[in-house]
Structure formats: C-alpha cells, structure tokens
C-alpha cells in the first residue's frame, strides 16, 4: 500500500500530460478528432465554402429540382455535386448549412443542460437535506420520461402558447431549451456525487476553518474539482443532443423547413424517398451519422483518459 500510494503519486503527477499522450497513442481517437474538426470547420465556414445559399429562396430555381448527384450519375449537373431536392436546392450546400445549425443547437443545448445541471448538482450536493431531496426527486421523476418525450412536451407547450408564425422565428430557442431541459439530470447527479465526495475532503474543511461562505467554497474549491466528469458527459451529450434535435426535426416539431437542419433535411428527403430520389435523405443521414460517431468516439476516449483507475 505504501509503495502503491507513492506509485499513484507520480502517476498523478504525470496526469496532465497523460491525457495528451493517450490521445496520441489512439489512432481511432485521432481520426475521430480530425473528422470532427473537418465537419465543424466546413459547417461554420459554409457561408464561404458552400457553392449555393440554400436558405435564400431568390437563388432557387425549380428547373434545377431533383437533379441526381453529379458524381454518380450522368444526369447530374456539376453545379450540384450531391444533387438537388424538389425545390432545386443544392444538397451539398444544404448539408453544410444544416450541419452548422445542428451543431449550434447541439452545443447550445449542452450549455443549457450543463449550466442547469451543475448549478442544481452543486446546491444539492453541498447543501444536502431538503434541498437535495427536492432536486433529486424532481430528477428521478424526469428520468422516468425519455428525453425525447420531455423535449416534445416542452415544444408542445410552447406551441400551444404562441402562434405558428412566431413559433418558426423562435423555434431554435425553443428546441435548445427543450433539449437542454431534458438532459440536465445526468449533470446534476454526477456533480452532486462528486461534490459529496469533495466536500468531505480536508481542503474544503480547511476553507471552512478560514470561515469562507458556502457559496465561495462551492465556486472556488469544489467546482474546479468536479469539471472532469462533467466534460466527459458534455462531450457524449453533444452527440445525443444533435441526434435529439434531428429526431425532433424529423418528426416535424423541430426546426422549420425554411431553415433546415440535418434532421429536417432527412425528413424532407424521406417524403420523396419512395420515388427513388434517395440522395436527398441519404447524404444528410450519412453526415449526421459521421458527426455523431466522431463526437461519441471522442467522448469515449475522454472518459477513459480522465478515469483515474485506467491511468
């Protein structure tokens, strides 16, 4: 034991750069990181890179409608390498803009879920007692509903309150809020667990002996020490949030078809899939799968790299 603690001592000392080392030594992770980076870069540079601006109805021409992918079919037009939809929108450009939207919604809802989850988890773990019981029971109840159902519910309520036209304008905020609200539980539980471990450690007691307020102790001492697991959840949740948004959009309760995300594109393509125009739905689908896979691989790696037991 004595030898082991010394051993873990220097293992801990090496920990910071161990993350980088474990990254480098995993080709799968490097590939996932490169893929993620490329997708993200292309998505956010879409106003520059995309050959067309698919959200601008003025640039669309119905005569370009339903062209097959130029790279696969002689009927195609090289102005539209991945073909067009029934409106004559370029699929490649739509995917680029759609990915950007999916990413924005995914990231924003992760931020919402994280903020809410961390705050409630900290309060729950540090204060304990009735506050803890209340927050955790709410979490328990919410966990009995699938996240998608919670998101549907929230979206439904908002739709009931405001008009359809208004709704399209604020659709993105509604969906971010809905997804964020449905994912906070995992953060709260993880943070609460970590806080309950950390708050009994002697460095927190030392801060209490000095007489710091609980709020200061939570923010300055406890919070920085629970970020590791939160980061892992956030990465894995990013994939989940993107999928959830796609699912909602596919069901028609997500982003409107005037500003299609990947999920909306898949839905639009799905409507004409029976007539043999497969490319409208398959290319966005492949992009979505690639993006989520890459992000999840990164999340899995991060979880292992930050796990002290596997270090």
């Amino acid at each position: 034991m004595a030898a082991r603690s010394a051993l873990s001592g220097w293992l801990h000392r090496a920990a910071d750069s161990d993350v980088w080392w474990s990254f480098k030594s995993s080709p799968m992770t490097v590939a996932a990181a490169v893929a993620t980076f490329l997708i993200v870069a292309v998505a956010f540079l879409s106003p520059v890179l995309a050959p067309h601006t698919p959200f601008d109805p003025a640039t669309l021409s119905l005569t370009d409608g339903l062209k097959p992918p130029a790279m696969l079919s002689a009927d195609g037009d090289w102005a539209f390498p991945l073909g067009t939809d029934d409106q004559g929108r370029d699929i490649l450009s739509s995917i680029m803009y759609g990915t950007r939207l999916s990413l924005v919604v995914g990231l924003a809802s992760v931020v919402v879920a994280m903020t809410l989850g961390i705050t409630l988890g900290l309060l729950s773990g540090y204060l304990g007692g009735a506050v803890d019981a209340l927050i955790m029971r709410v979490a328990d109840v919410q966990l009995t509903f699938p996240a998608i159902l919670v998101a549907l519910l929230i979206d439904g309520i908002v739709r009931g309150i405001i008009s359809v036209k208004r709704h399209d304008e604020i659709a993105i905020y509604v969906i971010v809020g809905a997804i964020g609200l449905s994912f906070w539980v995992q953060y709260a539980r993880t943070v609460r667990g970590s806080v309950m471990v950390e708050k009994n450690k002697e460095y927190v007691q030392a801060a209490r002996v000095i007489g710091l307020s609980p709020l200061l102790i939570m923010v300055r001492h406890v919070l920085p020490n629970v970020t590791g697991p939160v980061l892992v959840i956030a990465t894995i949740n990013l994939g989940l949030a993107i999928i959830t948004e796609a699912t909602l959009s596919f069901l028609g309760v997500g982003l409107p078809s005037t500003e299609p995300s990947l999920g909306t594109l898949i839905r639009l393509g799905n409507e004409v899939l029976q007539s043999g125009d497969w490319w409208i739905t398959v290319f966005p689908g492949v992009t979505l799968a690639a993006l989520v896979l890459a992000v999840n691989l990164l999340g899995d790696w991060l979880r292992d790299a930050l796990n002290p037991k596997l270090r």
């Binding site: 000392r13 920990a15 002697e202 460095y203 007691q205 030392a206 209490r208 000095i210 920085p224 020490n225």
Partner: protein, 346 residues
C-alpha cells in the same frame, strides 16, 4: 480539572457531540429499527495553557478527531462550551469579531494528499487565508508574506508556482502548515499531522512544528494515536476512550506513572525498539461500538480491575499528581500506581 488560575488559553467544558447515524425515517418505520446515535464525544473537559502542547491520544473511534473539529468550529457541539482566550465560541459575535477569533486559530490536517486543493497553485493556497482575513496591504505585500511563509516551512519562494501534485507528502504537509500559519494564528489544532508520513519525514515535520512553536509562541492541540510521537512533542497528554477522557497528566507523569488501566494498556502496546526483550502484552478485546457504549465506565468490559461499581457508575475525574483520572479502582485505592522506566534508544 480546572485549576482555577484563570490563565487558561483554551477552555473546553462538558463538550459533547452526538451524531445521528439512523437509517432514513421511512426505513426505520418499516423495519422497526430504533434511532442510532453515536456518542462521538461524551462530555470532556480540557484546559490548555498558552504556549503548551496538549495532546489527545486514543485508538480510532475514540472521538479525538471529533474534538479537534469541534474546537475549530467545523461541527457545532451538542452540548458544552469552548472558550478561546476568554471568548465563548458559541456566543453572539458580530461577523467581524467572529472572523477575528477564527483568524487566531487554525488547523493542520492528517492527509497531505487531500488537504490541498489539487487545482490551486501553492501560492494561492497559502494566500487564501491572508486574502480571506484581509491581512495584506497590497499585491506586493501579499507576495512577500507568502514567500516568507514558504521560507519558514523550509520551502522556496519558487515552490509557490507549483501545484500540490508536484510535491512529496512531507512537502505538502509543509504547505499545509504554511497555510495554517498564514493568518498569524496563536492556536493550532493538529489532527494527526504526521501519521500519513514516513518516519524520516515525520521527524522533519515534528522538528519544524517545535521550531515554529518556539518562534511564534504557538499553542498546540495535538491529536495522535502514536504514543512515541506524543511523548516527544507534548507538555500534557489526555487519553481518550470511547468519547471520554480517562486520564490527563503532564507527559512525563503519564508515561512513567500511568494511572488508568487503559493508559497502562496503551503504553504496553508501544513497540519495543530498544530491543530490551520486553514483550508487548497483547490486550484482550477490542474497542466497543460507540453507538451502544458499555454502561458505567465504558472501559469495564476490557478492564482486569473492573467490579460491579465500574459496570454501573460512570467514574468522575479525580485530581491526582497534577492531572486527572476517571477510574473507580484508583479512587478506591484498589489499583496501586506503577512506576515505569524506559531505556533510551542510543
């Protein structure tokens, strides 16, 4: 017991702390289980004079660490009072007065790996009390204070830029001591400060603590299970068993003329490093659970001198040879005082 001189720096009277470790209410109702209360500290009186080192010894679960945490205010007491330099710590104090009192007492913890925030640089760890109590005039002053503290614990100012994980256990404990000294306290509560360290490092830390005590006139409440360490560092020693003080005496008296049967038993367990061939006489039995402690004198089930009175009546502290003993056998003169000698390990 109190000598009534009124010069006591820290005065603990009738201190009790019970912990409720019962199952949740619903489980108790369904399974018809009673409430379970741990009597971690069950009425102790201690007086510590300025500049002395008062040690509390005992086996794990005897409540000595709980006393330490009660004294620095990490737990509120269930009953009893803690007076620090004439101020009742539980009394009504303004925020500023309370901060002033807190500044004067600090704590050193057992585990050098858990007692420093792993995300903070050593400089910020040591600077925290200075900032919290607003003791520095400006940034340069803060810098100077932290560097002085680092030097006082035999580290270098450059160490301030490092993170705790870059240090060995002994060095971390030095950081911990520097943090405790940062608010210029007069009273330090040390909870097993060397028990997680290797012996050669333990010697360094004990020497440092002695040096600092002399330099700053510190008063120590020293918690330890290691009798040899306690013998080395203490002015007076209190022996705890199941939440109660069974004996208090000046160090030399306690080790050479132990009175309470439990003290004698503890002394018997000190390993014989002098190779005198003295056999450790293993004591029968183990410490009972503090949830349902034995009646009367809690030591009676393990005590070879126990009689019916010991089973029924809790012994009162009896003043004897500059200390106190809580034992019926001593009070009744059934148990003669025994002399012990030790051979120096040359």
């Amino acid at each position: 017991m109190p000598d009534g001189s009124g010069t006591q720096f820290v005065r603990i009277a009738g201190l009790k702390r019970y912990f409720d470790v019962s199952a949740p209410w619903l489980v108790r109702m369904i399974e018809r289980r009673p409430r379970q209360i741990v009597q971690a500290v069950d009425g102790i009186d201690i007086e510590i004079a300025k500049g002395e080192t008062f040690s509390l010894v005992g086996e794990s679960g005897c409540g000595k660490s709980t006393v330490a945490r009660l004294v620095v205010g990490l737990y509120p007491p269930t009953a009893g009072t803690i007076e620090f330099d004439g101020n009742d710590m539980a009394g009504r104090h303004s925020r500023a007065d309370m901060a002033a009192l807190r500044r004067r007492m600090q704590m050193i913890f057992q585990d050098p790996y858990a007692s420093l925030n792993p995300r903070w640089r050593v400089f910020d760890i040591i600077a925290e009390p200075i900032r919290a109590f607003g003791l520095s005039k400006d940034k340069a002053d803060l810098q100077k204070r932290v560097e002085d503290l680092l030097r006082q614990v035999r580290l270098t100012p450059a160490d301030g830029r490092k993170f705790p994980h870059e240090f060995s256990g002994g060095q971390r404990q030095r950081v911990s001591i520097a943090r405790a000294l940062a608010s210029q306290p007069e009273f330090l509560v040390c909870d097993e400060p060397t028990s997680a360290l290797d012996v050669s490092v333990q010697a360094q830390i004990l020497n440092l603590m002695v040096d600092l005590q002399r330099r700053f006139g510190l008063t120590y409440l020293f918690i330890s299970h290691n009798l040899a360490v306690v013998y080395h560092i203490s002015t007076r020693v209190g022996v705890m068993y199941l939440g109660r003080l069974v004996e208090v005496a000046p160090t030399e008296t306690l080790f050479t003329r132990p009175k309470h049967p439990y003290t004698r038993m503890l002394l018997d367990t000190i390993p014989d490093l002098d190779m005198t061939g003295r056999q450790r006489s293993p004591v029968a039995g183990e410490v009972p659970s503090p949830i349902n402690p034995p009646s009367g004198c809690t030591f009676h089930p393990r005590c070879p001198f126990a009689n019916d009175r010991c089973k029924a009546e809790r012994p009162k502290a009896l003043s004897i040879e500059g200390g106190t003993v809580a034992c019926h056998a001593i009070e009744e003169g059934r148990l003669p005082v025994e002399e012990r000698t030790y051979v120096a390990n040359s």
